[in-house]
Symmetry: C2
Subunit: 304 residues, 2 copies
């Protein structure tokens, strides 16, 4: 029933390209022009957000929006907000006091291309912008539902979500984690925002009852973890050129990963297991969840 | 008509203490407990927010809320959200790549008491938390008005508000600014958030028509500038012990200030002029704006 080859169909590839272009266009519009003061900050914000990344989180928002019959204009803004949060986290994670990395999405990291103070303000400003775009125009069927979208994104980004996961990551560098501890870290660090992307896309629509929303949330949890397991595998197996970011840096930084805890074989098996859990969660949603199924395969079978 | 001695009335002092305690209590409640994982991050967030500061922004939100007949429970949350944004900005501004400061609110800065990576994540998490508390429960007469509150705060915090002002500040260190350039910088760096505090407090209420809101916004603009002029004067005239932060650091860091551009005498005259503009803006609001008047005097006549 589950066909991995779906990910390579021309139809899905077209869908991905179309929606990657769509979120890029929305990001281009919501980011202040580099001609507006402070110009260097705006230039650095655009440098850090535009023209890079697979936009997996945006694609998940679009796909969830389709499952909920959401208008694409609204979903594009929700997708852009999630990508702004993701981009801010990358800029801050790359800073010298964090991962101290020099390469991101195939180009110098923000603090290398600009400077540390600018990179700090870029991250700060991108986070504000995410909440600004999410509150600027009507996105959900009613304002109360849109407030819920802001609540979901804020919680996913904060100390009990992504930023908290990053803190746990820092604290666990050089230590041995158990599998449950590792899972706890990634549910926060990567999982929370991926889950939020799914929920935000769906919140723009009207087609899901509470049960449907719960299924989607469960899907988001498994998809987020699967994404991270594959990320850990790629860090070991792919090269820097293909990844567009420094390969092998988890081991170099002595960070616990699925591969360091489980080994390659068991990590691959876990990714497959999570993929099946994710697809099972989607079953009650019927044909509307088609793109979410295809994205699950894309996430697990990707090579970069 | 304008009586500076209002600021020293026992009644106003009581009002300030009561409302400072109120926002402190709200902050205490919305900040995650230091026993919740990640505990070190939460401990550092609480360290950076609680038990310090004059809470001028919160007081302005409460006073504007009174002018708009807002329920105090809602205003307290709006006030707390603004203070969270302010606290995040202080933590990030104090980092080595920015102002590299070691003392804040009479105690070691966050990155000194903890570490740089934690301070970075503290600021990031406090920003998220501000938007989370502002979207978690009903604060305004209707959800659309609450969405507007989020929009106001996000815009005030971002690259065309506070963070943008910080970028201009960095870029202007060591240069000579004209008075309009200095004003432009401070309208963003300090003014935007003070203005937002006023607007957010008022948005929790129902008592203001569009004209009233415009008067308040005008008041917020002048009050914000007055606050900064006095801040620049205090940096020269007060000592570190009284300020609770490093005194004389503007000159030491070669930063343009009102004092460096205008001198002490003219800066003092400007502060007085801005105070009168602020009070004039409040005139149409009648007796409801009483606390805002008293706060204006407090801002201009304070000694720390």
């Amino acid at each position: 029933m589950i066909c991995p080859m779906q990910t390579t169909t021309a139809d899905f590839t077209d869908w991905m390209s179309t929606h990657q272009a769509r979120v890029e266009q929305t990001l281009e519009q919501v980011l202040p022009s580099a001609t507006i003061a402070p110009t260097r900050l705006h230039e650095a914000m655009r440098y850090s957000v535009l023209g890079g990344g697979k936009r997996v989180r945006a694609l998940l928002a679009f796909a969830a929006g389709e499952a909920a019959a959401a208008p694409i204009d609204a979903t594009a803004v929700a997708a852009a907000a999630v990508e702004l949060i993701h981009a801010y986290s990358l800029v801050h994670d790359d800073l010298p006091c964090m991962d101290d990395d020099t390469l991101r999405r195939g180009k110098p990291t923000c603090h290398v291309a600009f400077d540390e103070a600018t990179a700090l303000l870029v991250g700060d400003s991108l986070q504000s912008l995410a909440f600004q775009v999410l509150s600027e125009r009507a996105l959900a069927p009613d304002p109360a539902q849109q407030l819920a979208m802001l609540r979901i994104l804020a919680a996913a980004a904060g100390s009990r979500g992504m930023a908290g996961g990053q803190a746990i990551d820092l604290a666990s560098t050089g230590t041995d984690l158990t599998l449950p501890e590792l899972e706890y870290m990634h549910i926060h660090k990567t999982g929370a925002l991926i889950r939020a992307a799914v929920m935000l896309g769906a919140a723009c629509g009207t087609n899901l009852d509470p049960d449907g929303t719960a299924h989607l949330d469960r899907f988001g949890k498994f998809a987020g973890l699967a994404f991270q397991v594959v990320d850990d595998l790629l860090d070991v197996q792919a090269d820097t050129m293909t990844l567009g970011k420094t390969a092998g840096k988890d081991a170099a930084n002595n960070k616990p990963t699925y591969v360091s805890v489980l080994g390659v074989g068991q990590s691959r098996a876990l990714a497959e297991e999570l993929r099946e859990e994710a697809l099972t969660a989607l079953e009650p949603l019927g044909p509307g969840a088609r793109r979410l199924r295809e994205l699950t395969d894309f996430i697990v079978l990707r090579t970069h």
